[in-house]
Amino acid sequence: MTPALTPRVIALLIAERDDAHELARHAEDVLNETLARVPAQAGPPDVLAVCVTRRYDPQLVESLLRLALRTIVAVTVPDLRAPVQAADLASVLERTLAAQALGPHDFVCAPASALGEEVAGRLAAACGGVAFGRIQQFGFDHPGAHAHRTVFGGRASVRVQARTGPWFGALRAQPASANKPSAVPGATVLREEASVPHDADEITLLPGDAGRRPVETARVVVSGGRGMQGAEGFALLEQLATRLDGAVGGSLPAVDAGWVPVTHQVGQSGKFVSPEVYVAVGISGTPQHLAGIGSATRIVAINNDEDADIFRAADLGIVADWHTFVPALIARIDAARCADAGSR
């Protein structure tokens, strides 16, 4: 049996900043996931990308044209606020999706970030769609669509389904596809300009922590948990992260205690990170925390409790007191760098 209408996948390319690399990567994630679920004989999938930025970026559009996208809608919103507001993006995207004839056979994917999740939720509510939430996979059924998502604080993974769409989800980063499909010949690029008028008094800004590097894009993340026992330990983690060209994160108890800002929380209810290496210091390893770490990431756990659950998930477990281990590690890295510099 074949479906009455071909399903369409819509990738929402949105980010905190107009970061062309991050936007294109989400388009690739959506394509990888779509291609993984669509049989090869079915031909190129119908994937549309809607990209929202403050300024038109020809290089971004050029990189999107190299992907297997049928249509690219580049929406420029010069008056988008900074920091970007999910409400503004949702308002722009609601109009754009309506113009693209959003229908009951469309699966709309936002990136799995706090911003993407909020925008996907707002759009699902506004468009009368199905809110699947944060998803790891999606696919189409006859009829309907399904998605894989974690529930019960990351302790279980479930396939959920809905017969009618449009469906909305925030898709987590996908493993790169081995065989990259070529660009779609004659792909359409549409340029739109939009505006989101706002009351200047609605949001006032206070200076924040501009020096912290975001965890989502770092190649190494050094995270601390309850076992750090205070903010002083995080200063040491910051030193380690700097040497590893990484970012500092924290578990929910560390955020609760005020040792690290909520924007750097890793876990089911925080950021999802997929760095090359994740260093967990003084973190017990609850399923809720581990749910925020990509499956391809190598985890190093440092904990003085040899029975800590984190060791079950770690590629390398080190039973040690961080007070001793982390300064020794910093000293060893510094010594190695000095020796390396001296030998050149």
Binding site: P83, G121, A131, V151, E202, V220, P287, V300, R332
Partner: protein, 266 residues
Amino acid sequence: MKICALLGGILDPKWPLPPHDYLQRPELLDGIARKLSPFDEVALEVALQLRETVPSSTLAVYMPDGPGAEGLMRAVAAHKPDQIGLLAIDQAVRWDVAAFARQAAVGLRGADAGTLWLTGREFGDLDDGAFGACLSRAADASLIAMAEELRVDAQGTLRALRTRTDVTEQVRVPHACVVTLTNARSNRLRHPLMKNVMLAKKLAIDRVACKSNGDSDDTAAARVAPAQLLAAAEANRTRAAPLPASAGLDAQLNAFLELLCTASPT
């Protein structure tokens, strides 16, 4: 000002989930203890703080009814809200946040719970953030997501504080608004007084209907259903035994640096 905290409740994460398929047999979960999620606690604490700040304000707290909900609501009642109740939401819609939010909104409106609704950034065990958006839509209210505090500024305007990557935002809270709260140092839930804990044990708790007569079947029906339990989420991560302290600090440091060199050569 009427403040309403809507709490979800979760299965106690310290209890293991049953090994059998609880999607098909949800009653298998009934025996597991319930507790407030970290975000429920935040919503309750921020609501309590706001009641203390704004003279003549009242606080109502609601939670979906279900197994263990009454006991959990008694724990909440020990914080002395002015009004409490359990929402009689269809169990059939619990996987569909939009349908769940529509029923919750009907219940809260029916309970005259005001127009400022506070809830955690995630609602219960099955939501990861879409509930707030759906609730605000159902309530025809604005949404402010991921706030940490609510404060009245010098001009008397209620503002929500929200941490972004490199700034803190103070967002004006409109009259009709759903605010979702996230955890921070300033909003850890206080402990109730023991005398109030004892009083709460005897309190009568109302049940609130969540379907109005005018609701069509479409409004109340769930569009999302669980199809298959795939696996325990952590099942795919089983790794080597940890390097003990007896291996020596040098061996531990070497192991760390070796992994770092192979995984991230820079």
